[in-house]
C-alpha cells in the first residue's frame, strides 16, 4: 500500500539554451524530443491532483520553451494544484511573466549560476545573469512567491556569501543552496566540480549563519553535499514515497535520475493513468519501502530516516542499484566515496577554462 505523492515534478522538456556543466539531466537529452502535448499534460495534472498531489513543479530543461506553459499552469490551478515554475528565466519578458501570473502561477524559482555576471555567464555558456535579476524582481512585483536557487560546486562555493546577498537583493523568500548531485553531465565533470573539504566547510558556515540571521525573512536551505556527510541523503524522501516525476516523453519515474538505472520497467502516461503507475508500476515497487534492502540497510535504525540513500548513486559507484548508498559510512563500499573526496584544498583558486554540459545523441527512443 502506498501513500499518495505530495508533489508532481513535471519535466516539460529537456531542451535548454543554457549549458551548465552541473546539469543532472541525461546526457543524451536530445533524444527525448517526442514531448507530451498539451492535452496529455493537462490530463496528467488532473490525475496527479486526484491522486493526492498538492504541488506541481514545472521543470525541465527550460519549461519556458514550451509555448503552452500558460495553459498548463491554468490546468494545474483548475485541478487545485499549487504551481511552481523552476526556470533559468531565459529571455522571459514582463508580458509573459504577467500572463503566467494571470494563469495562476503561485511561485517562481529562478536559478543563478553564480553571484556575478562574469562567472555566471561563463558557466551558463550564454549571457543570462543580468536578465535573471530583472526577471526575479518582476516576479515579486507581480505578487508571485520567489525562490532563488544556486547549484554549488568548486567554482562558485567561495562566493556563497555573495550569492546569498544577491538573493536578498531581489527579495527572494527562499534560497536553495544545492550542492551538486553527481548525475548526468555533473557526473561526467565530477573532477572539475568536486569541492574540497575546506572550501565546502567555509561555505557551509556562511550558509548556516545566513540561515540564522535571515529567519523569518528568507528561508535559506542548505542541501547537504553528497559524499562529505556522515550519513546518506534521504534521496527523494524515499523511493515512490512522496514524489512522482513525469519526464518529457511521458515516462513516469520515482526520481528524475531513475531512467539511468538498468532493468527498470518504465510505464508511460501515454499508456496508463498516473495513479495506476504510482500504485502498481513495477519500477515504483522495486525500491519502495524496506523489502528490497540489503541486510546493512534493513538492520539499520536509520532505514526510515534516509531510506537507504540514493539508488542512482549506488548504481553509479557499485554497479548495483540495490546496494547501500556508498556515501553511508556503514556501506561496505564506503571507501569508494572516501577516495573521491578532496581532503586537501585545490591548488588553483580559479580552476580551468570553459566547462559545458555533455551533449550526446544516441538515436531515437521508443518511449
Amino acid at each position: 500500500m502506498s501513500d499518495p505523492p505530495v508533489a508532481l515534478l513535471a519535466e516539460l522538456t529537456y531542451r535548454c539554451p543554457l549549458r551548465c556543466a552541473y546539469c543532472s539531466n541525461p546526457t543524451d537529452w536530445r533524444d527525448y524530443g517526442d514531448e507530451l502535448d498539451t492535452a496529455v499534460w493537462s490530463r496528467v495534472l488532473r490525475e496527479a491532483a486526484e491522486l493526492g498531489a498538492l504541488h506541481v513543479h514545472f521543470s525541465g530543461g527550460e519549461p519556458l520553451l514550451r509555448d503552452d506553459l500558460e495553459s498548463l499552469v491554468r490546468a494545474a490551478r483548475d485541478a487545485g494544484l499549487y504551481t511552481n515554475l523552476i526556470t533559468s528565466a531565459w529571455r522571459v519578458t514582463r508580458e509573459r511573466l504577467a500572463a503566467l501570473a494571470d494563469a495562476g502561477l503561485d511561485h517562481v524559482q529562478v536559478s543563478v549560476q553564480d553571484s556575478d555576471a562574469a562567472h555566471a555567464d561563463a558557466l551558463a555558456g550564454t549571457a543570462v545573469h543580468a536578465h535573471k535579476l530583472e526577471a526575479a524582481r518582476e516576479v515579486k512585483a507581480l505578487g508571485m512567491a520567489l525562490s532563488v536557487n544556486a547549484v554549488l560546486h568548486q567554482r562558485n562555493l567561495a562566493r556563497v556569501g555573495e550569492i546569498i546577498a544577491l538573493a536578498e537583493s531581489v527579495g527572494a523568500e527562499r534560497l536553495e543552496l544545492a550542492n551538486t548531485q553527481w548525475h548526468g553531465s555533473a557526473l561526467a565533470h565530477r573532477d572539475a566540480l568536486m569541492p574540497d573539504r575546506e572550501t565546502l566547510a567555509r561555505a557551509q558556515a556562511v550558509a548556516l549563519a545566513a540561515r540564522a540571521r535571515l529567519r523569518g525573512t528568507m528561508d535559506v536551505i542548505w542541501v547537504i553535499p553528497d559524499w562529505y556527510e556522515d550519513a546518506p541523503r534521504p534521496c527523494m524522501d524515499g523511493w515512490g514515497r512522496r514524489f512522482v516525476t513525469v519526464i518529457p516523453t511521458g515516462v513516469v519515474l520515482p526520481c528524475p535520475g531513475a531512467h539511468g538505472l538498468p532493468g527498470m520497467v518504465f510505464d508511460s502516461v501515454r499508456d496508463r493513468p498516473l495513479g495506476d503507475i504510482w500504485r502498481e508500476g513495477a519500477d515504483f515497487q522495486r525500491y519502495r519501502g524496506t523489502g528490497w534492502m540489503s541486510p546493512t540497510c534493513a538492520g539499520c535504525e536509520r532505514r526510515d530516516v534516509d531510506f537507504g540513500g540514493c539508488r542512482c548513486q549506488a548504481f553509479a559507484l557499485t554497479g548495483d542499484a540495490a546496494r547501500t548508498d556508498p556515501s553511508c559510512p556503514k556501506s561496505p563500499d564506503h571507501r569508494l566515496v572516501r577516495d573521491l573526496r578532496r581532503e586537501r584544498p585545490a591548488t588553483a583558486t580559479e580552476p580551468g577554462g570553459p566547462l559545458y554540459r555533455i551533449d550526446i545523441r544516441r538515436g531515437p527512443r521508443a518511449s
Binding site: 498538492l54 504541488h55 499549487y82 512567491a145 527562499r174 525573512t217 528561508d219
Partner: protein, 94 residues
C-alpha cells in the same frame, strides 16, 4: 505576539485548502505543506485581512460558547504568531 487590533491575512503564497487524499485541511506554501488541525483550519479561514485578531477571537468564542474565551485567545495568538514568524501570515496595523 502583536496587538489584538492588527488584522492578519493569509499571505498570497500560502493557500488554505481541503486535502481530500489525507482528509485534513492544509496550508500549501512554496515547497511545503502545513497540516492543520480542525481548530487550526477554523482559525486560518478567518484570517482574511478584514477581521482584527480580536474579531477572530470574538467569532470563535461565539461559535464555541463551551470554550473559555481566554483559552481561545491564547490559541489564536499563538497560531497567528507562528504563521507570522514563518511568513505565511502578514499583519496589518490597525
Amino acid at each position: 505576539m502583536s496587538d489584538d487590533a492588527c488584522r492578519p491575512t493569509l499571505a498570497r503564497r500560502a493557500r488554505l485548502r481541503w486535502d481530500a487524499a489525507r482528509a485534513q485541511h492544509v496550508v500549501v506554501v512554496p515547497e511545503g505543506v502545513l497540516a492543520l488541525s480542525a481548530e487550526g483550519a477554523e482559525v486560518a479561514a478567518l484570517l482574511d485581512g478584514r477581521r482584527s485578531v480580536a474579531a477572530v477571537i470574538d467569532a470563535l468564542a461565539e461559535a464555541h460558547p463551551e470554550a473559555p474565551r481566554e483559552v481561545i485567545g491564547d490559541d489564536v495568538r499563538d497560531f497567528v504568531g507562528r504563521l507570522v514568524a514563518r511568513g505565511y501570515v502578514t499583519l496589518e496595523a490597525p
